[in-house]
Amino acid sequence: MTAPAGPAPGSAAEERPGAAEPPAPVIELQGVGVGYDGRTVLSGLDLRLAERRIGVIGQNGSGKSTLARLLNGLVVPDEGRVLVDGRDTRTEGRRVRSEVGFVFQNPDNQIVFPIVAEDMAFGLKNLGLPKKEIPGRVAGALESFGIGHLAERHSHLLSGGEKQLVALASVMVMRPRTVVFDEPTTLLDLRNRNRIRDAVDAMAPAAVVVTHDLELVSGYDRVLVVHDGGIAFDGAPGEAVAWYREHCS
């Protein structure tokens, strides 16, 4: 019902490797409301996201995925607007999506071509990158996640963890400045989950991570709890998780 404003956005000092990263784009939600078939999912949302690691938690159906999709224009608001570095996601969707990448829960959805390298190249061709540059970029992205050896493999025959890493690489190859993750570790075991966690922690772009895995966000700069159509809590990870455990289980 009520949506108590949490403490001010986290201010945890950052000591991440590769500190020379470009600043994260500023994502602003102004009076945002979204509904499906007339049923309101999120309403009156005002948010300014600029931290490098932001977690989003909340119950099934609370609207986390909807919020995530708003950030790069996959969903456009019914009311209000979403600005990424001042660009409206409604009118400049394609441009916004080239800056804000998205990794989904189920990597199968993202795979278009059967061979890993082919699939990654496909995304770059769509960006209009010169042909000559593509193989280098693809190899580089795969290497940076330690999966160079998968380049010629069949995407659909990879293990769950490998697939998720490939999906992540296929987004990173496009050099987004922020990556939004919607439950990237749900299908994974401990080791694969840790691989993804480490990959996310180490990567240069900023990240917004939607997850049910409350440990994942423990070192983040800021955590939002989505509840009852709004952000019910907004603050440091420890307090956010405590609030969520108390109010939502």
Binding site: F104, N109, V112
Partner: protein
């Protein structure tokens, strides 16, 4: 979505057995094509419309269902009127409207389960000579109804995933992962069905299926 066409309720049409409704629909299908009198056809269409309304379906659902049909009928009407003449077009329009509304009335008021049972009885003679297996047909039918919305949802997920990678909508790029995912899902669905002891024990009049372990 087509699975939500059935509207739970307790109207007289709901209570009528599925077989009777289909019998009437089938007979009407043939009858309406033998008739060509606009008055009679108009009356039939009116009766069909009343039957649809008697199902007490939400108006929004009805409108969504009837709109595309209306457009199709309008085009057909124009085509027939141009190619032949207006009276012929009127006959065609009333006839098809009556049939479509009747079919809709049946769909709105018949639970898929009852519909399936009716198929089983309908195909029993075929089953006896080993051509069809009613059990499998009815399972297939309900699976289609169950999975159309699922396929549609997956389709949207894939389109979204591709848009997020900056890809423009491309039917080939959309369909390949959709089909691969569907083929993979089929394994899980088949396992889930087998795990619940499918197929049922063979009935005395049953089909020609070979049981895994007779007795």
């Amino acid at each position: 979505m087509n699975t939500s066409l059935y509207v739970p309720g307790n109207t007289p049409l709901h209570r009528l057995p599925a077989g009777a409704k289909f019998g009437v629909l089938f007979a009407a299908g043939i009858g309406l094509f033998l008739l060509a009198h606009p008055g009679v056809l108009g009356a039939a269409a009116a009766v069909a419309a009343v039957l649809v309304l008697s199902a007490r379906a939400p108006l929004a659902a009805l409108r969504a269902r009837l709109l595309p049909v209306g457009v199709m009928l309008a085009v057909l009407f124009a085509a027939t009127a141009l190619l032949q003449d207006v009276p012929a077009a009127v006959v065609m329009l009333l006839r098809l409207a009556a049939l479509i509304l009747l079919a809709l009335a049946v769909t709105l008021t018949t639970r898929p389960a009852d519909l399936l049972e009716f198929f089983e009885r309908l195909t029993a003679p075929l089953a006896r000579v080993g051509v069809a297996d009613p059990e499998r047909i009815s399972l297939g039918v309900s699976l289609v109804l169950r999975f159309v919305p699922e396929v549609f949802r997956r389709f949207q997920e894939i389109r979204e995933a591709q848009a997020a990678r900056g890809l423009k909508a491309n039917p080939v790029a959309l369909l390949v992962p959709l089909i691969v995912r569907t083929l993979k899902a089929a394994d899980d669905v088949a396992d889930a069905i087998d795990a619940r002891c499918y197929p049922p024990p063979r009935r005395p009049s049953g089909g020609a299926r070979t049981e895994e372990n007779p007795t």
